[in-house]
Amino acid sequence: MSAAKQLPVLDTSVAPSAARKVGDLKPDLLLTQEHNMCPGCGEPLVLRSFLEALSELDVAQRSIGILGVGCYTSFGMTMDVDLVQALHGRAPSIATGVKRMRPDSIVFTLQGDGDMVNEGLQEVLHTAARGENVTCILLNNGVFGETGGHMTATTVLGQRTKNSLEGRDAAYHGYPILIGDLLARLEGAAYVARGSVHNAGAVARTKKMLKRAFEIQRDGGGFTFVEVLTMCPTGWFIPTGEGPDYMHSTLGEVHVMGELKADGRIKSTEELHEENAKRQQEIEARLAAGGLEEDS
């Protein structure tokens, strides 16, 4: 970093004339890029991913989103998608009703871990068991961010939150619920995936998962579920810059990233760990061979 600081600073206020644009400021479905999230929050990254996925599939005009209660609820003010506001935890049931009345629409829910796993666990389980043709998106950060950062059912053992300052203790607080693994076991769930936003590659992979989930719903495949691990540096008492690494080493070790259920095959945590290690080796090999040349 010190070497970079001695280099001249380039002008980044105006777009260059002789260059092609490869990345947009914000997704087209977002009216403004301003939002009320804290610095270092991971939720806007998921917002960008699923809005871009909806645009790319060209289904934005017939999408209906159901918002749970949490920090992300304020995205409803800037998203150019039809929305319904649900009671705390009840989004999957409302999604069921919307989808049954309007079978042509693409129905998705946006919920946090406190909303889905604490308040409304039975709603999402029953929706998955019935095999409703909806997509549920879970933003999992292990804390109730909106109401002050206390522990949720997905908080991993040892994690510090406002009411587990010494870290979550299994003897006193119990064990975390791995909602993805739980839903993958249900017959009605067609696609269950767990993404993360701890680096650029993970965000790109999460977007592919979201896109695949919407595709399966569009083709009438059944219940699809995408869980995304997001950073909440405010709730975790850590500096914003350390959020991604902290998340990957604590939450990411328990809630392992990958496609838990796809094409009728359920993958175990060990398999996902192996897959991720292999993927990491490939990326490192490509970096060593001369950099990643990825087209966004």
Partner: protein, 96 residues
């Protein structure tokens, strides 16, 4: 006695970015995400919201990693058809 050492080199930029400073909340996620490490936070300057913001140095590859990880949607990424060269001249005084 001191000796003055001059060195001259060029840095190739294959891409560039624009930064919307006014929406940046200074979370520093882009700094660690940038593979060529060409972003750094300002030390003193702050934006409209009172946060430090990132600055771009020569050497950008246009990979869009900053755009992928920015929660405040500050970046637009561009790629040059022909790489842009920036001449760097450093002058150092070395005591002998």
């Amino acid at each position: 006695m001191t000796t003055t050492i001059k060195s001259r080199g060029t840095i190739k930029s294959r891409g560039t970015i624009t930064i919307d400073l006014d929406t940046c909340k200074g979370c520093e996620l882009c700094i660690t995400a940038c593979p060529p490490r060409v972003l750094s936070m300002t030390e003193h300057a702050v934006n409209r919201l009172g946060y430090h913001y990132p600055e771009l140095h020569p050497g950008c590859t246009g990979c869009a990693a900053c755009l992928f990880v920015c929660p405040d949607f500050c970046f637009e990424v561009f790629r040059y058809d022909e790489p842009v060269l920036t001449v760097i001249e450093t002058v150092a005084e070395v005591a002998q």
